[in-house]
């Protein structure tokens, strides 16, 4: 059946089965869904389903499965790797209307939510009970928990508190053949394979999540934020090494270099220390006595490393003030440059100084500026490659430089993505980080869930694996099968 006829069949089925208004067919409206937070990768979908509940997600997927039509899931569309870019002859299943918080269970320290719930809304729902949801990506006010599950999102505080995968204990999944499966739950260590763990971070390629059970964290007794200005990233880096070496586990250690500071000042008047070539934001949380001791230790480390200035946040307002510059950093560079690329790579923390120097060299050689903002505690870099698309060759140069930075990360034993995911954007780099055998093994998992390759196809892996039996690998028929005691699926 041709793609067009298959789509028509899906459209007809959904028009019949879904509630009115759930199916988007207007061309202009479809256009608004062509990309996520990575605007330069865009494809207009043939159909959009605005699912209101798990049942509608299931119906949409089942209709696609019956016709072999590919589908892609989308939450708030704020991802930075093009993971929610639609397929042209496919359906986009949008979970943005599934925004209910189904249950806040403080006694069990769990919250059950629909996938369209914004990350921060989970914290809002349990804050008065003295709890919060720990993973805090910078886009937490808008990014959806479903998207967080897909990407295994982190955030500044994952240094101490972990990522999404450390906070999801259960989920409901609509499998690519249109069935709903409940996995895990409020309890930990569910018997069997940790499919929940495998699904978190699978970037929407194993099905569509329709409910998430998350672990809530008890709000810390005390939170303390310090900001330290340093002459350069080397001294700031030395402070980080000292802090970590002292056995401290801050909840966050963020660094911004000179250019990033300039941008942040231009955007939000954060008034970071004058003359600082680098700024560190260190946050500690936990029992008050611990935090107080930790603050003293962090101060010592910073001063010894050569800090120019230290600032302490005495209350929430001051804390917000210290973070303001860091949180606005990505968008802020838009004020000092017409265009920019946000990169996301990881190197071992100890390699940071060397890598930053190397980035500096690459930048100088290419004549393209790079502002650096990063999670200094775990080596997750976010180089912001600044350019002007109107100038001939700059877009090209910026992309090359951005790519070279990823190579640099791999050279130092790091990763091509710490938070944003592979999606569409970094498919091509997977081969640099993993061998064909590694990628083949990962896709064995994909084949188990999506043998027909209709669930978010074209994402994460550079080349799809042929699912089903591998020619030549099988020996004789399994004795149990011959004996009629077992079946093969």
């Amino acid at each position: 059946m041709s793609a067009a006829r298959a789509l028509d069949a899906v459209r007809a089925a959904l028009e019949r089965d879904l509630a009115p208004g759930a199916l988007v067919t207007d061309r202009a409206e479809l256009g608004t869904y062509e990309c996520d937070g990575l605007a330069h990768l865009a494809t207009v979908p043939a159909l959009v389903v605005l699912a209101r509940d798990a049942g509608e997600v299931r119906q949409a997927v089942a209709a696609c499965a019956s016709q072999g039509v590919p589908f892609v899931a989308r939450g708030a569309g704020t991802g930075l790797s093009g993971g929610a870019v639609p397929v042209a002859d496919g359906v986009l299943v949008v979970t943005a209307k599934m925004r209910r918080i189904l249950e806040v269970d403080v006694d069990n320290e769990r919250c059950v939510v629909e996938p369209g719930v914004a990350n921060l809304d989970i914290t809002r729902a349990c804050a008065t009970d003295g709890y919060y949801y720990a993973p805090d990506p910078s886009s937490q006010q808008v990014c959806s928990i479903g998207g967080n599950v897909a990407e295994n999102s982190g955030g500044a505080h994952c240094l101490k508190h972990g990522f999404t995968t450390n906070h999801v204990t259960g989920l409901d999944l609509v499998t690519p053949d249109g069935e709903i499966v409940g996995l895990g739950g409020k309890a930990l260590d569910s018997p069997g394979y940790d499919l929940v763990g495998a699904i978190v971070g699978s970037e929407g390629t194993l099905g569509v999540v329709t409910s998430v059970t998350v672990r809530l964290s008890r709000s810390p007794e005390a939170v303390y934020t310090l900001l330290a200005g340093f002459p350069d990233t080397d001294t700031a880096g030395a402070a980080v090494t000292a802090i970590v070496g002292a056995g401290l586990v801050p909840s966050a250690i963020e660094m911004m270099d000179e250019l990033a500071i300039v941008a942040a000042e231009a955007a939000v008047d954060c008034h970071y220390p004058d003359g600082a070539g680098a700024v560190l934001i260190v946050e500690l949380d936990g029992p008050r006595a611990d935090v107080e001791a930790g603050v003293a230790a962090v101060e010592r480390c910073c001063v010894q490393a050569g800090a120019l200035e230290l600032r302490h946040a005495r209350d929430d307002a001051e804390r917000a003030q210290l973070w303001r510059g860091r949180k606005s950093a990505f968008a802020a560079v838009g004020r000092i440059s017409p265009d920019y690329i946000v990169q996301d790579g990881v190197v071992p923390r100890t390699a940071l100084p060397e890598v930053l120097r190397a980035i500096g060299s690459l930048s100088a050689a290419a004549g393209i500026r790079v502002a650096n903002v990063f999670h200094a505690g775990d080596g997750n870099l976010h180089p912001l490659v600044l350019f002007d698309a109107r100038v001939d060759g700059q877009l090209d140069g910026a992309e090359k430089l951005s790519h070279a930075i990823l190579d640099l990360c791999l050279e130092h034993g790091g990763s091509i993505t710490g938070e944003h995911g592979v999606g569409l954007d970094k498919r091509g780099s997977m081969g640099a980080m993993f061998t064909p055998e590694d990628l083949d093994t990962m896709q064995m998992l994909r084949c188990a869930f999506d043998p027909h390759g209709i669930c978010n196809p074209g994402k994460v892996f550079p080349t799809p694996r042929l699912c089903g039996e591998q020619p030549g690998r099988r020996g004789a028929a399994h004795p149990l099968v011959s004996a009629g005691l077992a079946e093969l699926y």
């Binding site: 269970d105 006694d107 003295g130 295994n152 972990g162 995968t165 499998t175 409940g182 996995l183 739950g185 409020k186 309890a187 930990l188 260590d189 569910s190 018997p191 069997g192 394979y193 940790d194 763990g197 495998a198 971070g201 699978s202 008890r218 810390p220 090494t241 070496g245 056995g247 401290l248 029992p287 611990d290 001791a293 190197v347 071992p348 923390r349 775990d378 034993g413 790091g414 990763s415 993505t417 995911g421 592979v422 997977m430 061998t435 590694d438 990628l439 083949d440 093994t441 990962m442 064995m444 998992l445 084949c447 699912c467 039996e469 591998q470 690998r473 020996g475 149990l480 093969l488 699926y489």
Partner: protein
């Protein structure tokens, strides 16, 4: 596999591969839950393991891996074991990036040895050895965590990279050496707790924590489940950031021993200990709340020899403890219940002589409390005769999907067939 011809052919094949593999006949001492393997190899590298498995795959021979053999009798007995891969010689620490708090280690290394090495650099793997002699590979394969899971997470939470040998003998890596990494699927999660049925783990990369500078354990004896509930609630409310919260109870009416581990710098620790003692005292009305710098004697030890693992929603722990006590009273068995009370993961141990029907009743009681919230009651270890007649794994959510995963990774069903859930 036809025992005679097939085994000889495989043996010759393996011997031809390398003398290093040390291929030999399996002995009774090599038994995997009662099944004596036909052949045993002792590889010293991942490449060796891969080659051995590839040969086994070619002949459809069933393969089981062994570290120190401390948990070979966990799960269900395998349908057959044609080849036992002994990884105990692969015990090297391959890379310890101290500044990055990351260690890459071969699967045959014991937790003990690893711990000693890491401690020398002021670091630790936050996964205690709860079964003496455990190896890294075994702990990963069984997903076995200790008290530290409360603060630092379970095995799957600290595992950041794996090297595995697939059922077809191909070596594959997932994850990375850096803690922050979302490139590709998180196969480490899939392999952790998979009982060797998806592949053989030969190397694991872990995220480490600094060694605690000081520790204090607050202990008290609680008269019953009601008081336990109150105590656990008080601990949650008081933001003390405990490293571990464990309970231990023997029998039906003995007190429930509660132990709360607090770690950190000495001076602040004193304040936290005082706060914890006060919170517990206030909530339970108890006066005898003690603190000491050492853990209780029962700490971090899985009870047995008949061992059941129970995981429930955290708030259900007091009720679960009551259910188990009721069972102990009814069957007049000295049941030992021990584990992470704040997280809802407990182990129950009873004598080897416990009747299979009683064990079955224990599983039923446990499942009634645990299964509805996605947890379970799993009979990990028991005499073969006991296991034979019981549904040891219990209800499993998503079993169909799990079977499909198994089919994808091991279509020939040669990796530990029958040890895992649903006959996998």
């Amino acid at each position: 596999m036809d025992a005679g011809v097939g085994v000889d052919a495989l043996r010759d094949d393996l011997a031809a591969l390398s003398a290093r593999l040390g291929v030999r006949e399996g002995r009774p001492a090599d038994a995997v839950d009662g099944i004596v393997p036909c052949l045993v190899v002792s590889p010293t590298s991942t490449a060796d393991v891969a080659a051995a498995v590839a040969r086994a795959a070619a002949s459809g021979s069933a393969v089981v891996a062994r570290g120190a053999g401390t948990k070979l009798d966990w799960g269900r007995p395998p349908e057959r074991v044609d080849l036992l891969v002994d990884l105990s010689a692969m015990d090297r620490v391959l890379e310890h990036a101290v500044g990055d708090f990351v260690v890459r280690v071969e699967a045959g290394a014991t937790l003990d040895r690893l711990g000693t090495l890491l401690a020398a650099a002021g670091q630790r793997l936050p996964v205690e050895q709860v079964v003496p002699g455990s190896t890294v590979g075994g702990v990963v394969a069984t997903g076995l965590s200790g008290p530290s899971r409360h603060l630092d997470g379970a095995v799957r939470d600290v595992l950041i990279g794996l090297t595995v040998v697939r059922a077809d003998g191909v070596v594959a890596r997932s994850g990375s050496k850096v803690v922050k990494n979302v490139a590709g699927y998180d196969l480490a999660k899939l392999f952790a707790g998979s009982y060797g049925t998806l592949g053989i783990v030969t190397e694991a990369t872990f995220r480490l924590r600094p060694l605690a500078r000081a520790r204090q354990v607050v202990t008290c004896d609680l008269s019953g489940e009601g008081v336990l509930a109150v105590a656990l609630s008080a601990l949650r409310a008081n933001q003390i950031a405990a490293s571990a919260v464990e309970i231990d109870r023997v029998g039906a009416s003995e007190p429930i021993r509660l132990a709360v581990l607090l770690e950190g710098d000495e001076e602040p620790l004193e304040a936290r200990v005082a706060a914890t003692v006060a919170a517990l005292g206030h909530a339970t009305g108890l006066a005898a709340i003690r603190s000491a710098p050492t853990v209780p004697t029962w700490w971090a030890q899985v009870p047995g020899p008949v061992t059941t693992k129970l995981s429930c929603a955290p708030a259900d722990v007091p009720d679960l403890v009551r259910d188990l006590a009721t069972w102990a009273a009814r069957h007049d068995r000295p049941l030992v219940v021990r584990g992470a009370a704040a997280d809802g993961v407990l182990f129950a141990g009873c004598p080897a002589t416990t009747e299979p029907s009683a064990v079955g009743a224990l599983l039923e009681v446990g499942r009634a409390r645990c299964a509805t919230t996605g947890g379970g009651a799993v009979l990990l270890r028991a005499p073969v005769a006991t296991k034979a007649g019981l549904d040891t794994w219990g209800p499993v959510r998503g079993l169909d999907l799990m079977r499909r995963v198994k089919q994808s990774f091991d279509p020939g069903r040669i990796l530990a067939p029958g040890r895992f859930v649903g006959g996998i």
